[in-house]
Protein backbone atom coordinates (compact mmCIF):
# COMPACT_ATOMS: atom_id res chain seq x y z
CA UNK A 1 0.00 0.00 0.00
CA UNK A 2 1.17 3.56 -0.79
CA UNK A 3 4.51 2.49 -2.35
CA UNK A 4 5.52 6.07 -3.22
CA UNK A 5 4.94 7.20 0.34
CA UNK A 6 6.86 4.23 1.68
CA UNK A 7 9.91 4.88 -0.45
CA UNK A 8 9.91 8.60 0.31
CA UNK A 9 9.12 8.31 4.01
CA UNK A 10 12.74 8.68 5.20
CA UNK A 11 13.04 11.92 3.24
CA UNK A 12 9.79 13.26 4.71
CA UNK A 13 10.88 12.29 8.24
CA UNK A 14 14.09 14.20 7.70
CA UNK A 15 11.92 17.23 6.93
CA UNK A 16 9.85 16.47 10.03
CA UNK A 17 12.98 16.74 12.18
CA UNK A 18 13.44 20.32 10.98
CA UNK A 19 9.75 21.05 11.64
CA UNK A 20 10.09 19.72 15.17
CA UNK A 21 13.27 21.69 15.89
CA UNK A 22 11.75 24.88 14.53
CA UNK A 23 8.52 24.26 16.50
CA UNK A 24 10.33 23.62 19.77
CA UNK A 25 12.34 26.81 19.41
CA UNK A 26 9.36 28.95 18.35
CA UNK A 27 6.93 27.60 20.94
CA UNK A 28 9.32 27.62 23.91
CA UNK A 29 10.86 31.03 23.22
CA UNK A 30 7.52 32.52 22.17
CA UNK A 31 5.86 31.27 25.37
CA UNK A 32 8.63 32.62 27.59
CA UNK A 33 8.54 35.98 25.78
CA UNK A 34 4.74 36.14 25.88
CA UNK A 35 4.39 35.22 29.55
CA UNK A 36 7.09 37.75 30.46
CA UNK A 37 5.44 40.51 28.46
CA UNK A 38 1.98 39.60 29.79
CA UNK A 39 3.18 39.78 33.40
CA UNK A 40 4.91 43.11 32.69
CA UNK A 41 1.63 44.44 31.30
CA UNK A 42 -0.10 43.44 34.54
CA UNK A 43 2.44 45.03 36.91
CA UNK A 44 3.94 47.82 34.83
CA UNK A 45 3.01 51.47 34.51
CA UNK A 46 0.76 53.09 31.93
CA UNK A 47 3.40 53.76 29.27
CA UNK A 48 4.72 50.22 29.38
CA UNK A 49 1.18 48.88 29.23
CA UNK A 50 0.36 50.99 26.15
CA UNK A 51 3.49 49.78 24.39
CA UNK A 52 2.62 46.18 25.14
CA UNK A 53 -0.98 46.69 24.01
CA UNK A 54 0.31 48.08 20.72
CA UNK A 55 2.64 45.10 20.27
CA UNK A 56 -0.16 42.65 20.97
CA UNK A 57 -2.71 44.30 18.70
CA UNK A 58 -0.32 44.78 15.79
CA UNK A 59 0.87 41.19 15.68
CA UNK A 60 -2.52 39.69 16.39
CA UNK A 61 -3.94 41.61 13.46
CA UNK A 62 -1.38 40.54 10.87
CA UNK A 63 -0.95 37.17 9.12
CA UNK A 64 2.12 35.25 10.25
CA UNK A 65 3.21 34.91 6.63
CA UNK A 66 3.44 38.69 6.28
CA UNK A 67 5.47 38.86 9.51
CA UNK A 68 7.80 36.21 8.12
CA UNK A 69 8.27 38.03 4.82
CA UNK A 70 8.87 41.23 6.70
CA UNK A 71 11.42 39.51 8.91
CA UNK A 72 13.12 37.75 6.05
CA UNK A 73 13.45 40.84 3.86
CA UNK A 74 13.88 43.56 6.49
CA UNK A 75 16.73 42.03 8.51
CA UNK A 76 19.13 42.27 5.53
CA UNK A 77 17.96 45.85 4.94
CA UNK A 78 19.33 46.83 8.35
CA UNK A 79 22.56 45.01 7.61
CA UNK A 80 21.67 41.84 9.47
CA UNK A 81 22.20 38.82 7.26
CA UNK A 82 20.16 35.95 8.67
CA UNK A 83 19.55 32.58 7.11
CA UNK A 84 15.96 31.62 6.37
CA UNK A 85 15.65 29.50 9.54
CA UNK A 86 16.74 32.28 11.86
CA UNK A 87 14.54 34.84 10.13
CA UNK A 88 11.55 32.51 10.37
CA UNK A 89 12.28 31.60 13.98
CA UNK A 90 12.67 35.21 15.12
CA UNK A 91 9.54 36.34 13.26
CA UNK A 92 7.46 33.51 14.64
CA UNK A 93 8.73 33.94 18.21
CA UNK A 94 7.62 37.59 18.15
CA UNK A 95 4.31 36.56 16.58
CA UNK A 96 3.60 33.73 19.05
CA UNK A 97 4.75 36.00 21.89
CA UNK A 98 1.97 38.47 21.12
CA UNK A 99 -0.71 35.79 21.38
CA UNK A 100 0.75 34.30 24.57
CA UNK A 101 1.07 37.80 26.08
CA UNK A 102 -2.63 38.46 25.52
CA UNK A 103 -3.53 35.04 26.95
CA UNK A 104 -1.34 35.75 30.00
CA UNK A 105 -2.99 39.09 30.56
CA UNK A 106 -6.38 37.42 30.37
CA UNK A 107 -5.36 34.65 32.76
CA UNK A 108 -4.06 37.16 35.31
CA UNK A 109 -7.28 39.17 35.05
CA UNK A 110 -9.30 35.96 35.48
CA UNK A 111 -7.86 35.25 38.93
CA UNK A 112 -10.60 36.37 41.29
CA UNK A 113 -10.21 39.87 42.75
CA UNK A 114 -10.92 38.39 46.18
CA UNK A 115 -7.59 36.56 46.01
CA UNK A 116 -5.68 39.82 45.75
CA UNK A 117 -7.81 41.37 48.50
CA UNK A 118 -7.16 38.43 50.84
CA UNK A 119 -3.43 38.64 50.14
CA UNK A 120 -3.45 42.40 50.73
CA UNK A 121 -5.27 41.88 54.02
CA UNK A 122 -2.40 39.70 55.20
CA UNK A 123 -0.09 42.63 54.58
CA UNK A 124 1.49 41.19 51.44
CA UNK A 125 3.22 43.63 49.07
CA UNK A 126 2.35 43.98 45.38
CA UNK A 127 5.19 41.90 43.96
CA UNK A 128 4.69 39.15 46.49
CA UNK A 129 0.97 38.96 45.72
CA UNK A 130 1.75 38.55 42.03
CA UNK A 131 4.40 35.89 42.68
CA UNK A 132 2.76 33.89 45.44
CA UNK A 133 -0.96 34.24 44.77
CA UNK A 134 -1.89 35.47 41.30
CA UNK A 135 0.68 33.89 38.99
CA UNK A 136 0.43 30.31 40.32
CA UNK A 137 -3.31 30.44 39.69
CA UNK A 138 -2.98 32.24 36.37
CA UNK A 139 -0.47 29.69 35.05
CA UNK A 140 -3.03 26.94 35.33
CA UNK A 141 -5.58 29.01 33.41
CA UNK A 142 -2.91 29.63 30.81
CA UNK A 143 -2.28 26.00 29.82
CA UNK A 144 -5.28 25.57 27.53
CA UNK A 145 -4.86 28.82 25.54
CA UNK A 146 -1.10 28.34 25.22
CA UNK A 147 -1.67 24.80 23.95
CA UNK A 148 -3.93 26.23 21.23
CA UNK A 149 -1.35 28.84 20.31
CA UNK A 150 1.41 26.20 20.24
CA UNK A 151 -0.57 23.89 17.96
CA UNK A 152 -1.31 26.81 15.66
CA UNK A 153 2.38 27.75 15.62
CA UNK A 154 3.55 24.21 14.83
CA UNK A 155 1.33 24.12 11.79
CA UNK A 156 2.36 27.63 10.78
CA UNK A 157 6.00 26.56 10.60
CA UNK A 158 4.97 25.11 7.24
CA UNK A 159 4.97 28.69 5.89
CA UNK A 160 8.73 28.70 6.45
CA UNK A 161 9.07 26.79 3.18
CA UNK A 162 7.86 29.90 1.33
CA UNK A 163 10.92 31.90 2.34
CA UNK A 164 13.08 28.91 1.55
CA UNK A 165 13.53 27.20 4.91
CA UNK A 166 13.46 23.49 4.24
CA UNK A 167 11.19 21.44 6.48
CA UNK A 168 8.39 18.92 6.26
CA UNK A 169 6.07 20.83 3.91
CA UNK A 170 8.98 21.82 1.69
CA UNK A 171 10.14 18.21 1.48
CA UNK A 172 6.58 17.10 0.70
CA UNK A 173 6.26 19.52 -2.19
CA UNK A 174 9.58 18.37 -3.62
CA UNK A 175 8.47 14.75 -3.52
CA UNK A 176 5.08 15.53 -5.05
CA UNK A 177 6.66 17.50 -7.90
CA UNK A 178 8.93 14.56 -8.61
CA UNK A 179 6.43 11.72 -8.20
CA UNK A 180 3.05 13.43 -8.78
CA UNK A 181 1.64 11.23 -5.99
CA UNK A 182 0.02 14.14 -4.20
CA UNK A 183 -2.62 12.13 -2.33
CA UNK A 184 -0.22 9.57 -0.83
CA UNK A 185 2.41 12.09 0.14
CA UNK A 186 0.08 14.65 1.70
CA UNK A 187 -1.78 11.90 3.54
CA UNK A 188 1.58 10.90 5.01
CA UNK A 189 2.44 14.50 5.82
CA UNK A 190 -0.92 14.93 7.54
CA UNK A 191 -0.24 11.95 9.76
CA UNK A 192 3.26 13.17 10.59
CA UNK A 193 1.92 16.61 11.65
CA UNK A 194 -0.69 14.90 13.78
CA UNK A 195 1.93 12.70 15.43
CA UNK A 196 3.94 15.82 16.25
CA UNK A 197 0.95 17.71 17.69
CA UNK A 198 -0.90 14.97 19.56
CA UNK A 199 1.68 14.34 22.33
CA UNK A 200 1.62 18.05 23.09
CA UNK A 201 -2.12 17.89 23.77
CA UNK A 202 -1.55 14.93 26.07
CA UNK A 203 1.26 16.71 27.89
CA UNK A 204 -0.90 19.80 28.36
CA UNK A 205 -3.72 17.73 29.79
CA UNK A 206 -1.33 16.00 32.19
CA UNK A 207 0.11 19.36 33.26
CA UNK A 208 -3.37 20.75 33.83
CA UNK A 209 -4.16 17.79 36.05
CA UNK A 210 -0.92 18.17 37.98
CA UNK A 211 -1.63 21.82 38.64
CA UNK A 212 -5.22 21.18 39.69
CA UNK A 213 -6.04 22.59 43.10
CA UNK A 214 -8.07 19.83 44.71
CA UNK A 215 -5.68 16.91 44.71
Amino acid sequence: MFPVLQSNLPYLLQGAVYTVILSVIVVSCGTVLGVGVGVLAAVGGNILRSLITAYIFIFRGVPVLVVMFLGFYSFPAVGLRLDAYTAVAVSMIVYVGAFVAEATRGAIAAVAAGQTEAAKSLGMRKGMIMREIVLPQAMRLLIAPVLNIALMAIKQTSYASIVGAWELSFAAREVVERTLAAFQIFLGVMIIYFVICYPLSLAARALEKRLAFDH
Binding site: G114, G123, R125, M128, Q137
Partner: protein
Amino acid sequence: MNQAAALPPQSDEIVAIRGLRKSYGKLEVLKGIDISVRRGEVVVVLGPSGSGKSTMLRCVNFLETFEHGTITVDGRPVGYKTVNGTRKQVSETENASLREHVGMVFQSYNLFPHRTVLQNVMMGPVKVKGIATATARDIAMRLLGKVGMDHKADAYPGRLSGGQQQRVAIARALAMEPSVMLFDEVTSALDPELVGEVLKVMRELAEEGMTMIVVTHEMGFARGVADRVVFMDGGVVVEEGPPGDIMAAPKTDRFRGFLSRHLSEEG
Protein backbone atom coordinates in the same frame (compact mmCIF):
# COMPACT_ATOMS: atom_id res chain seq x y z
CA MET B 1 -18.73 42.29 78.40
CA ASN B 2 -20.81 45.43 78.53
CA GLN B 3 -18.46 46.72 81.19
CA ALA B 4 -16.48 48.17 78.32
CA ALA B 5 -19.22 50.74 77.94
CA ALA B 6 -18.41 52.02 81.41
CA LEU B 7 -14.87 53.00 80.40
CA PRO B 8 -14.34 56.67 79.58
CA PRO B 9 -14.73 57.28 75.83
CA GLN B 10 -11.60 57.36 73.63
CA SER B 11 -9.53 55.35 76.08
CA ASP B 12 -7.69 52.51 74.40
CA GLU B 13 -9.20 53.37 71.07
CA ILE B 14 -8.08 50.89 68.38
CA VAL B 15 -10.14 52.01 65.40
CA ALA B 16 -11.29 55.58 64.91
CA ILE B 17 -13.45 56.48 61.94
CA ARG B 18 -14.21 60.19 61.67
CA GLY B 19 -16.34 61.93 59.07
CA LEU B 20 -15.86 59.13 56.54
CA ARG B 21 -17.34 59.92 53.13
CA LYS B 22 -17.12 57.88 49.98
CA SER B 23 -18.74 58.09 46.56
CA TYR B 24 -18.93 55.85 43.55
CA GLY B 25 -19.12 58.49 40.83
CA LYS B 26 -22.09 60.64 41.72
CA LEU B 27 -23.54 58.17 44.17
CA GLU B 28 -22.47 58.93 47.71
CA VAL B 29 -22.51 55.65 49.64
CA LEU B 30 -20.96 56.87 52.91
CA LYS B 31 -22.18 60.25 54.08
CA GLY B 32 -20.06 61.03 57.11
CA ILE B 33 -19.53 58.05 59.37
CA ASP B 34 -18.11 58.28 62.89
CA ILE B 35 -17.34 55.04 64.67
CA SER B 36 -14.89 54.45 67.47
CA VAL B 37 -13.84 51.00 68.63
CA ARG B 38 -12.00 50.36 71.88
CA ARG B 39 -9.61 47.54 72.62
CA GLY B 40 -11.46 44.33 73.31
CA GLU B 41 -14.75 45.70 72.10
CA VAL B 42 -17.07 43.79 69.76
CA VAL B 43 -18.98 46.15 67.50
CA VAL B 44 -21.67 44.63 65.32
CA VAL B 45 -22.80 46.67 62.35
CA LEU B 46 -26.34 46.03 61.14
CA GLY B 47 -28.16 47.53 58.21
CA PRO B 48 -30.07 46.74 55.05
CA SER B 49 -28.26 45.89 51.81
CA GLY B 50 -26.79 49.00 50.26
CA SER B 51 -26.54 50.81 53.58
CA GLY B 52 -22.77 51.12 53.12
CA LYS B 53 -21.76 48.88 56.02
CA SER B 54 -19.47 46.60 53.98
CA THR B 55 -17.94 49.58 52.20
CA MET B 56 -17.24 51.19 55.57
CA LEU B 57 -15.54 48.01 56.79
CA ARG B 58 -13.42 47.74 53.64
CA CYS B 59 -12.28 51.33 54.11
CA VAL B 60 -10.80 50.38 57.49
CA ASN B 61 -8.45 48.02 55.63
CA PHE B 62 -8.05 50.46 52.74
CA LEU B 63 -9.43 47.97 50.26
CA GLU B 64 -11.58 50.97 49.27
CA THR B 65 -10.38 54.51 48.77
CA PHE B 66 -12.38 57.32 50.32
CA GLU B 67 -12.69 61.03 49.63
CA HIS B 68 -13.22 62.61 53.02
CA GLY B 69 -12.60 61.90 56.65
CA THR B 70 -9.92 59.97 58.49
CA ILE B 71 -9.50 56.46 59.78
CA THR B 72 -6.83 55.44 62.24
CA VAL B 73 -5.92 51.98 63.48
CA ASP B 74 -3.77 51.91 66.62
CA GLY B 75 -3.24 55.61 66.04
CA ARG B 76 -1.77 55.11 62.56
CA PRO B 77 -3.55 56.76 59.63
CA VAL B 78 -5.22 54.48 57.08
CA GLY B 79 -4.86 55.35 53.40
CA TYR B 80 -4.20 59.06 53.73
CA LYS B 81 -2.18 61.43 55.82
CA THR B 82 -2.14 65.18 56.00
CA VAL B 83 1.16 66.77 55.05
CA ASN B 84 1.35 70.57 55.39
CA GLY B 85 -2.41 70.79 55.32
CA THR B 86 -2.90 68.72 52.16
CA ARG B 87 -4.31 65.22 52.09
CA LYS B 88 -1.95 62.70 50.52
CA GLN B 89 -2.31 59.00 49.88
CA VAL B 90 0.20 56.99 51.90
CA SER B 91 2.52 54.59 50.12
CA GLU B 92 1.55 51.04 49.20
CA THR B 93 4.21 49.79 51.62
CA GLU B 94 2.75 51.78 54.51
CA ASN B 95 -0.70 50.42 53.75
CA ALA B 96 0.68 46.90 53.63
CA SER B 97 2.42 47.25 56.98
CA LEU B 98 -0.78 48.67 58.47
CA ARG B 99 -2.81 45.74 57.12
CA GLU B 100 -0.52 43.34 58.98
CA HIS B 101 -2.31 44.49 62.14
CA VAL B 102 -5.82 44.27 60.73
CA GLY B 103 -7.30 40.82 60.16
CA MET B 104 -10.07 40.51 57.60
CA VAL B 105 -12.50 37.71 56.86
CA PHE B 106 -14.58 37.87 53.69
CA GLN B 107 -18.03 36.69 52.68
CA SER B 108 -16.52 34.47 49.96
CA TYR B 109 -13.69 33.08 52.19
CA ASN B 110 -11.01 33.86 49.57
CA LEU B 111 -8.70 31.06 50.66
CA PHE B 112 -5.79 30.48 48.30
CA PRO B 113 -6.94 27.46 46.28
CA HIS B 114 -3.42 26.43 45.22
CA ARG B 115 -2.23 26.07 48.81
CA THR B 116 -3.22 23.60 51.50
CA VAL B 117 -5.13 24.67 54.60
CA LEU B 118 -1.90 24.70 56.62
CA GLN B 119 -0.03 26.65 53.94
CA ASN B 120 -2.86 29.18 53.80
CA VAL B 121 -2.53 29.86 57.50
CA MET B 122 1.29 29.87 57.42
CA MET B 123 1.44 32.24 54.45
CA GLY B 124 1.15 35.48 56.46
CA PRO B 125 3.61 34.64 59.24
CA VAL B 126 6.22 33.19 56.85
CA LYS B 127 5.98 35.54 53.85
CA VAL B 128 5.05 38.79 55.55
CA LYS B 129 6.51 38.53 59.04
CA GLY B 130 9.47 36.38 58.04
CA ILE B 131 8.88 33.88 60.86
CA ALA B 132 10.77 30.58 60.57
CA THR B 133 8.75 27.82 58.90
CA ALA B 134 8.81 25.50 61.92
CA THR B 135 7.59 28.22 64.27
CA ALA B 136 4.93 29.31 61.81
CA ARG B 137 3.75 25.71 61.49
CA ASP B 138 3.27 25.52 65.26
CA ILE B 139 1.35 28.80 65.26
CA ALA B 140 -0.79 27.64 62.35
CA MET B 141 -1.54 24.23 63.85
CA ARG B 142 -2.53 25.81 67.16
CA LEU B 143 -4.91 28.21 65.40
CA LEU B 144 -6.33 25.45 63.23
CA GLY B 145 -6.95 23.46 66.40
CA LYS B 146 -8.72 26.46 67.86
CA VAL B 147 -11.14 26.68 64.93
CA GLY B 148 -11.49 22.89 64.86
CA MET B 149 -9.77 22.43 61.51
CA ASP B 150 -6.44 20.82 62.46
CA HIS B 151 -7.62 17.49 61.07
CA LYS B 152 -7.80 19.08 57.58
CA ALA B 153 -4.40 20.78 57.68
CA ASP B 154 -3.17 19.06 54.52
CA ALA B 155 -6.39 19.34 52.53
CA TYR B 156 -6.87 21.84 49.74
CA PRO B 157 -9.60 24.47 50.26
CA GLY B 158 -11.60 23.11 47.31
CA ARG B 159 -12.30 19.95 49.30
CA LEU B 160 -13.83 21.76 52.27
CA SER B 161 -17.37 22.89 53.01
CA GLY B 162 -18.09 26.61 53.15
CA GLY B 163 -18.19 26.59 56.94
CA GLN B 164 -14.86 24.80 57.10
CA GLN B 165 -13.29 27.20 54.61
CA GLN B 166 -14.53 30.16 56.59
CA ARG B 167 -13.07 28.79 59.82
CA VAL B 168 -9.71 28.35 58.07
CA ALA B 169 -10.00 31.92 56.78
CA ILE B 170 -10.46 33.09 60.37
CA ALA B 171 -7.37 31.12 61.44
CA ARG B 172 -5.42 32.62 58.55
CA ALA B 173 -6.30 36.15 59.65
CA LEU B 174 -5.52 35.35 63.31
CA ALA B 175 -2.08 34.04 62.38
CA MET B 176 -0.95 37.63 61.83
CA GLU B 177 -1.88 38.44 65.45
CA PRO B 178 -3.99 41.42 64.40
CA SER B 179 -5.05 44.14 66.82
CA VAL B 180 -8.52 44.14 65.28
CA MET B 181 -10.51 41.61 63.25
CA LEU B 182 -12.94 42.71 60.55
CA PHE B 183 -15.73 40.33 59.56
CA ASP B 184 -17.55 41.18 56.32
CA GLU B 185 -20.83 39.23 56.20
CA VAL B 186 -18.87 36.06 56.81
CA THR B 187 -21.90 33.80 57.15
CA SER B 188 -23.95 35.21 54.26
CA ALA B 189 -22.64 32.73 51.68
CA LEU B 190 -23.06 29.70 53.93
CA ASP B 191 -25.75 27.05 53.96
CA PRO B 192 -27.95 27.65 57.02
CA GLU B 193 -26.71 24.54 58.82
CA LEU B 194 -23.09 25.71 58.53
CA VAL B 195 -23.64 29.18 59.96
CA GLY B 196 -23.53 27.97 63.57
CA GLU B 197 -20.00 26.54 63.46
CA VAL B 198 -18.58 29.84 62.18
CA LEU B 199 -20.51 31.96 64.67
CA LYS B 200 -19.29 29.70 67.46
CA VAL B 201 -15.66 30.41 66.55
CA MET B 202 -16.40 34.14 66.42
CA ARG B 203 -18.15 34.01 69.79
CA GLU B 204 -15.11 32.29 71.33
CA LEU B 205 -12.85 34.95 69.86
CA ALA B 206 -15.00 37.66 71.37
CA GLU B 207 -14.85 35.96 74.75
CA GLU B 208 -11.06 35.92 74.56
CA GLY B 209 -11.12 39.68 74.25
CA MET B 210 -10.40 40.09 70.54
CA THR B 211 -11.35 43.50 69.17
CA MET B 212 -13.88 42.88 66.40
CA ILE B 213 -15.97 44.81 63.92
CA VAL B 214 -18.62 42.48 62.56
CA VAL B 215 -20.88 43.32 59.62
CA THR B 216 -23.65 40.76 59.66
CA HIS B 217 -27.33 39.94 59.32
CA GLU B 218 -27.23 37.56 62.29
CA MET B 219 -29.49 39.21 64.84
CA GLY B 220 -28.82 36.53 67.44
CA PHE B 221 -25.09 37.15 67.25
CA ALA B 222 -25.60 40.89 67.58
CA ARG B 223 -27.80 40.48 70.63
CA GLY B 224 -25.68 37.82 72.32
CA VAL B 225 -22.11 38.85 71.55
CA ALA B 226 -21.94 42.55 70.67
CA ASP B 227 -20.81 45.12 73.20
CA ARG B 228 -22.28 47.72 70.92
CA VAL B 229 -24.55 47.61 67.90
CA VAL B 230 -24.29 50.17 65.12
CA PHE B 231 -27.25 50.45 62.78
CA MET B 232 -26.44 51.98 59.39
CA ASP B 233 -28.86 52.98 56.67
CA GLY B 234 -28.41 55.14 53.60
CA GLY B 235 -24.72 55.74 54.30
CA VAL B 236 -25.13 57.14 57.82
CA VAL B 237 -25.13 55.73 61.34
CA VAL B 238 -28.76 55.88 62.40
CA GLU B 239 -28.50 54.42 65.89
CA GLU B 240 -25.87 52.90 68.12
CA GLY B 241 -25.72 51.52 71.60
CA PRO B 242 -25.60 48.34 73.67
CA PRO B 243 -27.75 45.65 72.01
CA GLY B 244 -29.83 45.17 75.15
CA ASP B 245 -30.94 48.78 74.92
CA ILE B 246 -31.31 49.66 71.27
CA MET B 247 -32.46 46.30 69.95
CA ALA B 248 -35.12 46.09 72.66
CA ALA B 249 -36.23 49.67 72.25
CA PRO B 250 -35.18 51.14 68.90
CA LYS B 251 -35.53 54.91 68.80
CA THR B 252 -36.02 55.33 65.08
CA ASP B 253 -38.64 53.94 62.74
CA ARG B 254 -35.95 52.81 60.33
CA PHE B 255 -34.24 50.58 62.90
CA ARG B 256 -37.58 49.36 64.25
CA GLY B 257 -38.67 48.40 60.73
CA PHE B 258 -35.36 46.69 60.04
CA LEU B 259 -35.54 44.69 63.27
CA SER B 260 -39.12 43.58 62.77
CA ARG B 261 -38.36 42.39 59.23
CA HIS B 262 -35.33 40.40 60.37
CA LEU B 263 -36.73 39.05 63.59
CA SER B 264 -39.83 37.76 61.84
CA GLU B 265 -37.54 35.90 59.42
CA GLU B 266 -35.74 34.25 62.29
CA GLY B 267 -39.09 33.19 63.76
